[in-house]
């Protein structure tokens, strides 16, 4: 009746987007699944997955991906938490201003960041130039085209992603808890370790999972700042697609990556604070 008519019209509003997404998103993704099970000529095959199972290259890259992602998450956390905590302690006006310092890098092109790191971390780059000024040192550490470069690049990219959930979690805490503890005799360190930190764990968990998930699928940073030993799954997909035109393998790796990500996202949605991160995370 009445509500039925209203219902019909509001569905119409969403229809164009639905149709578009079905064609340009859902269908291609299903296509990847499909391609992972077919050769280029269209014959059904499990070869893709079988080959990956036995492939030393893939095992190495898979391990790399997890290693790199894990380390990047930890490093990001080490820097992001103090930033978030510092922001949480500011007056709202100061905090709004300082947030710009987080938002600007967040919205800066990753290519710009990668280029900057190439200049700064290179053998004759800014940092090494400064280091070699010191007496007795004529070569600085290798920070580019290796694991360190990738770590620096990834951490730099991920810090804003980690800061937001942790900051939200910290701001949501009842300020009276710290006040009460202080009146009861606690020093600031104890207040932090016993009250603030534990209560911020949902934000930490959500942020860490989020960063880890994004990192798994990363492509640009390992490609530009990493070396041959720093290939991640996404780079392998690129390699099989462009270099060897082995679409089957490329698709198989993509499917594995997708399934892993979806599983972790499912975990994230179960973590307290995870659901809201999914809303604002990307």
């Amino acid at each position: 009746m009445l509500e039925a008519r209203q219902m019909r019209i509001t569905i119409l509003f969403g229809l164009p987007a639905l149709v578009f997404m079905a064609i340009i998103f859902l269908y291609p993704i299903l296509g990847v699944f499909n391609q992972s099970l077919h050769t280029i000529d269209g014959l059904f095959t499990w070869e893709g997955y079988v080959e990956l199972w036995g492939s030393r290259l893939f095992s190495k890259v898979l391990l790399n991906t997890f290693e790199i992602s894990f380390e990047a998450t930890v490093l990001t956390l080490l820097l992001a938490y103090p930033i978030a905590y510092y922001l949480a302690k500011q007056e709202p006006r100061a905090r709004a201003f300082l947030m710009v310092l987080i938002l600007l890098p967040f919205w800066t092109s990753i290519l710009v960041k990668s280029f900057a790191f190439t200049v700064v971390l290179g053998e004759h780059g800014t940092i090494n130039s400064l280091i070699t000024l010191l007496p007795g040192i004529d070569r600085g550490p290798k920070m580019l085209f290796n694991r360190m470069g990738v770590m620096i690049g990834l951490t730099h990219f991920f810090i804003p992603f980690m800061v937001f959930p942790i900051l939200t979690s910290l701001l949501a805490q009842n300020p009276d808890l710290a006040k009460a503890a202080q009146l009861m005799g606690s020093g600031p360190v104890r207040i932090f370790t016993r009250i603030t930190l534990p209560l911020s764990m949902p934000g930490v968990m959500a942020g860490s999972l989020l960063v880890f998930i994004i990192s798994l699928g990363f492509f640009i940073t390992p490609a530009l700042l990493g070396g041959r030993k720093d290939l991640m799954m996404a780079n392998l997909v690129d390699f099989y697609t462009r270099e060897t035109l082995n679409w089957t393998l490329a698709s198989s790796i993509s499917v594995i990556l997708l399934v892993l990500s979806l599983f972790l996202i499912f975990l994230l949605s179960r973590v307290p604070g995870g659901k809201s991160v999914l809303g604002e995370g990307n």
Binding site: E3, Q6, T10, F13, G14, P16, A17, L18, F20, I24, P28, I29, G31, V32, Q35, L79, P82, I83, L87, K89, E91, V100, L101, I102, L104, P105, W107, T108, S109, L111, V112, S114, F115, A116, F117, V119, V120, S129, H156, I159, Q173, A178, K179, P188, V189, T196, G217, F219, I220, A223, L224, A234, V237, S251, S254, V255, L257, L258, S261, N282
Partner: protein
Amino acid sequence: MAAVEKPVGSAGSPAAIFLKVTAWFGFLFLLMPSFIVVPMSFGNQYEMVFPPDSFSTYLYEQFFFQSNWMDATFLSFRVAISSTILALVLGVPAAYSIVRGTYPGKRYVAMFLMSPILVPIIVIALGLYLYFASLGIVGTEIGLIFAHTMFTTPFVIVTSMAGLRHVDQSLETAATIMGAGVMQTFFKVTLPLLKPAMFAGALFAFLMSFDEVVIAYFIADTGRMTLPVKMFNSIQWEISPVLAAVSALLTVLSLFVCVLAASFQKKS
């Protein structure tokens, strides 16, 4: 921990100092790229060092008048504008449908429309490449526009949904009772009030498309590269100092978008 008045004696403690130093190290680390590329871009064409030795606008001249960079820039610009407009046309009504609609399966509609966010971008990129290859539209501008629309629409939907929640529903009810149909209410009441949110959403969607590299890299053509793809190739294969000028301009673009969007936040 909403900003507390600092209790007596807390400011100078070693813990506080450590926190401040670490936090500011973090801020500077984050801002480093944005800061160094600008001075670098005024350097000369021979070395890429920071700080630069000399001052010249050579790199900018190279950028603006050397045709490949501008071609790429124009392509990125066209794609970003088109995909943003398309994303708005698709996304704003979809957001309305999700926030105001009452029909079974609404939750699933919302989840489906947001799902591109959950999929690693490399998988989306590969999927589009395979799909476009089968259709023969790899390397076309229209393919890129559609791809970027798909990429930015979820974002437009999220920002529009947030904006809609601030649009007083009783205004729409009042309009309905006074005789306006669903379309009339949407265009005369809802949309005008949604303008700030739509504008902010559009700005960021534009930036997202302009800076997007992975999808563009997969479905690009050597003859038709977007700016980020050209930058990617350049950094990977032969670093050109012009990159400094490009980076500086992109940084200014990001800054511009952030400031504009922030001023719109204040208005609403």
